[in-house]
């Protein structure tokens, strides 16, 4: 993928970073491409009992981290949020923390 992009004449702006994982946005800055953790690690079972996993997707105040920040894909975010809500119901995860 990096090679394909490097071939384009626009690539002058891409060179400073050098890393092939950085994706060129329309603007000046670069952004690392986010990938869905569940797709990469092949986690099928997003379970409400797995507190350790779920709490990674909560903010400090106990909110669910939005997809645009975590990079989770839509189907997985759906399962994830359902699992978090179940876990909240049984006091495994907080609704909010002060």
């Amino acid at each position: 993928m990096a090679e394909g992009k490097g071939g384009k004449p626009v690539s002058a702006s891409q060179q400073p970073t050098g890393t092939d994982k950085a994706v060129v946005t329309r603007r000046q800055y670069f952004r690392r491409k986010k990938v869905c953790r569940f797709c990469v690690d092949k986690i099928d079972d997003i379970n409400y009992k797995d507190v350790k996993l779920l709490s990674a997707f909560l903010t400090e105040r106990g909110k669910i981290v939005p997809r645009r920040l975590s990079g989770v894909c839509a189907p997985h975010q759906r399962r994830l949020s359902n699992a978090i809500k179940q876990a909240r119901n049984i006091a495994l995860l907080p609704f909010t923390t002060r």
Binding site: Y48, N89, I90, A91, P94, F95
Partner: protein
């Protein structure tokens, strides 16, 4: 017959015998209706994520059983009546288990297919990239 998972929180100051008695009672309810109790998991005392009935801790117990919907209704009724149980959550998991099983099979199938056909094509792209990084 459906498979359910039932997680509930028992009051932290409950005696072990009381918990045992409750479990026995629930086992009776399930068996009485022709269900099958598959799993009893005592997680033990855990900190609650938020206070429930002014308590910061709870004794978690997880049940897994196969039974009809009326059994769930009865068990939940008992939970509500019993002052031992602070909170409960019932989840129907048979369809979920089936789905997981399906996914697992798909994954295995794909993994088998890969070494035969897709390997040379799939490895074409990471190969040129990696050695450059190492050197």
């Amino acid at each position: 017959m459906r498979i359910y998972e039932q997680l509930f929180i028992v009051r932290p100051d409950a005696a072990q015998e009381e918990i045992e008695a409750l479990l026995e009672q629930l086992g009776g309810v399930i068996a009485g209706a022709g269900g099958k109790l598959d799993k009893v998991e005592k997680w033990g005392l855990r900190k609650l994520a938020y206070p429930v009935e002014k308590r910061q801790e709870g004794y978690y117990v997880l049940l897994q059983y196969a039974a009809g919907a009326d059994v769930v209704k009865e068990i939940e009724r008992r939970f509500r009546v019993s002052d031992l149980v602070l909170k409960y959550l019932t989840v129907r998991i048979d369809e979920r288990l089936k789905w997981l099983e399906k996914r697992k099979k798909q994954r295995e199938k794909r993994a088998q297919r890969k070494p035969a056909a897709a390997r040379p094509a799939a490895e074409g792209s990471p190969m040129p990239g990696e050695p450059v990084v190492k050197e």
